[in-house]
């Protein structure tokens, strides 16, 4: 099997994640779209590690996971505090800086 197929899968998942970020209004789902994009890049890293015969791609993927975990913690805390002040998890409602 040609390993490039995994790269195509990674591209598809990344694109779907990007569309999720652009289309959805719920902040949590937008965040999940970001997570999907990170996962897709991880898949690309792992595949490239295998193509090139070097584990460094896997190490980078591991670091991506670590940073993503930290990002999820902070991001969800931000979403929570925004929800607490405006009773809404919609990204459209956090628009105070617009005016």
């Amino acid at each position: 099997m040609n390993l490039v197929w995994w790269l195509y899968l990674s591209v598809l998942l990344f694109t779907i994640g990007g569309i999720t970020v652009l289309v959805r209004r719920n902040a949590i789902i937008v965040f999940m779209g970001v997570e999907l994009m990170l996962n897709a890049t991880n898949l690309a890293f792992v595949t490239f590690a295998r193509i090139n015969g070097d584990v460094e791609g896997q190490v980078i993927a591991l670091f991506v996971m670590l940073v993503a975990a930290a990002e999820v913690v902070v991001g969800l805390a931000i979403i929570m505090s925004i929800f607490r002040t405006r009773r809404s998890a919609s990204v459209d409602d956090a628009s105070l800086l617009q005016y």
Binding site: T15, L22, I51, V55, V59, L62
Partner: protein
Amino acid sequence: MTAAATALVAATTETGQASLGGNGEEVLFWVIAPLAVIAALGLVFARKAVHAALCMAWVMISLGIVYFAQQAPFLGAVQVFVYTGAVMMLFLFVLMLVGVDSSDSLVETIKGQRWFALVFGVGLAALVIAVIRGVTYPKAVGLKDVDTGGNITRLAGLIFGKYVWAFEVTSALLVTAALGAMILAHRERLTPKPTQRELSIRRIREGAIKAPLPAPGVFARHNAVDTPALLPDGSPSELSVSRVLVARGQRRDLRSVADDVAVIEAELTDPLGDEGPRTARAGSPGAVPADTTQRPDAGAAPEGTPTGKGAGT
């Protein structure tokens, strides 16, 4: 663990051909990839946030399986543990806190945004796929020669050797993130927390009922739960009927209970019961079994004079 990992690596590895992996991997790809893409599309199209989260968990688990097949058993395990186990559960917790029903509004704030997003997505995918297609890759090497000591040993050698500084910085990042999340989620108390003593004093001051609430049907003509209790002075007590029944509209009407009070009083003054309000009630239409809750006569009817009922109206 290492032995198992090596076995797995050995199972999924073939010699360094241009196309690694056997037919098994191809089958895995054509099973996993469509499922993962469909689940990812669920993220875009699911109306409920919980469904989107479950779709996301599915994508993550399938990616973990892919990592196992891609000679990255450690990453596969971490993917399942950290992403599906921790991150997605965190998402679900926040979903429960924020409100499960906080579904998306379908109003487009920017006109035509969805179409632009779709065009952008298709364009991005086409671009990157074209780039990937255009590149000539070296022969896929595979990790068989690298992972001689096992995948985890090799990864550990890199993480604690070459990338040890990045690893240390990551720990600082994680501590900072945890601290930041605590500060963001922290809510300052504006008033001191009332003690139990203060709470009890306030409860007495407000004059609410301290004893248990009256049971329904006490001293009333019926002992069903939908009948308000009659207080010693004959007035029905609102508190005695369950709030659920009140919300459902299944409570016996207070007015009908008041009628019962009149009947009871008449019976007390006229124990023989040949005259009085009963004759007046006998003139009313006969009891219909369906609406017993509305018509208090239904319960009292058999006690009335049957002949008067039949000849009524």
